[in-house]
Symmetry: C2
């Protein structure tokens, strides 16, 4: 990893995540080379932005020919540290939690959910997606030695902070939060919020403005 890669700004990370997903789909479709214009169109980003973002991986671009897709995918995956498996724990085995536990793409992308927790005594001990649901209070004990760095929170909003605290105690370094509430963590534990309603509110606003 060269020093340039360390300084990839946040907005670029998000775009790289989009590029790599698009490139992987193209690769599955048998495409081997792609121009920045074609990639730009597929990702709905402008071509000069893509060329700028891909300067981190410049060696895969050949003027007039385009980028070698496999090389570019491998390089972006390495730069984002997603070329390796990540163990995750999920907390909150409701409908959404169950859907994520059964979501094939997590495993396909090497995000392995290795433990599922809930505080409901009627759920503890049941099996979901081949895993036994464990009591949330036992999190630190259950996760010990499992190298789980990412926690996925799918509890109701009023339980989210408590389970986040448990996850941090258990050694998790990043939280994917589906509860529509802000979670506070120590400075070195990252939180990414998946908030459906922010998106719905943006749609309502945009649709209404457009039709005024």
């Amino acid at each position: 990893m060269n020093s340039k890669v360390e300084k990839i700004p946040r907005a670029t990370i998000k775009r790289l995540a989009i590029y790599v997903q698009t490139l992987e789909r193209m690769s599955r479709d048998g495409v081997e080379l792609i121009s920045s214009e074609a990639l730009a169109q597929a990702c709905a980003v402008n071509a000069s932005q893509i060329r700028k973002d891909l300067t981190y991986f410049g060696e895969f671009g050949v003027r007039g020919v385009g980028y070698n897709i496999e090389g570019l995918i491998a390089s972006i995956r390495q730069a984002l540290y997603i070329d390796r498996p990540w163990n995750c724990a999920l907390v909150g085995v409701g409908n959404l939690g169950r859907a994520l536990l059964n979501h094939r793409e997590f495993k396909q992308r090497q995000y392995n959910i290795v433990a599922a927790f809930d505080c409901d005594p009627f759920k503890i001990g049941t099996e979901v997606s081949g895993m036994e649901v464990m009591c949330s209070r036992r999190m630190a004990e259950v996760l010990a030695g499992k190298n789980v760095k990412i926690g996925i929170v799918t509890t109701p909003p009023d339980r989210a902070q408590r389970v986040a605290n448990y996850l941090v105690e258990a050694g998790v370094r990043g939280i994917l939060n589906y509860a529509s509430v802000h979670i506070f963590t120590p400075e070195d534990v990252f939180v990414e919020n998946v908030d459906f309603f922010n998106h719905l509110y943006a749609l309502s606003f945009n649709i209404s403005q457009k039709s005024r």
Copy 2:
């Protein structure tokens, strides 16, 4: 609605969506007045940013006293056009689609999913969350006259563009896209992407950079 409100920038919309959710929770907890500092802390945004964002709703702030929560909520909800019900249609009744159909918060926030579609003959005609799953091809016919402005796409990635086309034909003006693929729509149809993996990739990157 005054003319100032029309010009709320995109980033502000996202923050307003966070403020209103936080304020609603505080209101449920019985809080009536709040300072910009306390709201800032609860939303993890800095106080001067909040004060700037709330200049659109300035009449609810009293110096040294704070904002009247109920008034502020009502005003933000009106500005975002989320003070009214929105009819939605969901396409793709897999695990995630099922979880969203059963998600109480959609109804609580007046996002009413009034129709569910799938192209799987084994799913068509079954009932989910009190609704009969309909064939995706019948979308325009089924949605006619139902005032459905928002479509929710929870299909596998390779089906997402086709169902988006159906939704647009059926008169939808905004799409909440959970499929991890870019969807193309006419210029006046808005798309919001809920991409779990962009968030996971950002976590992987941040965690790895931190522990280098």
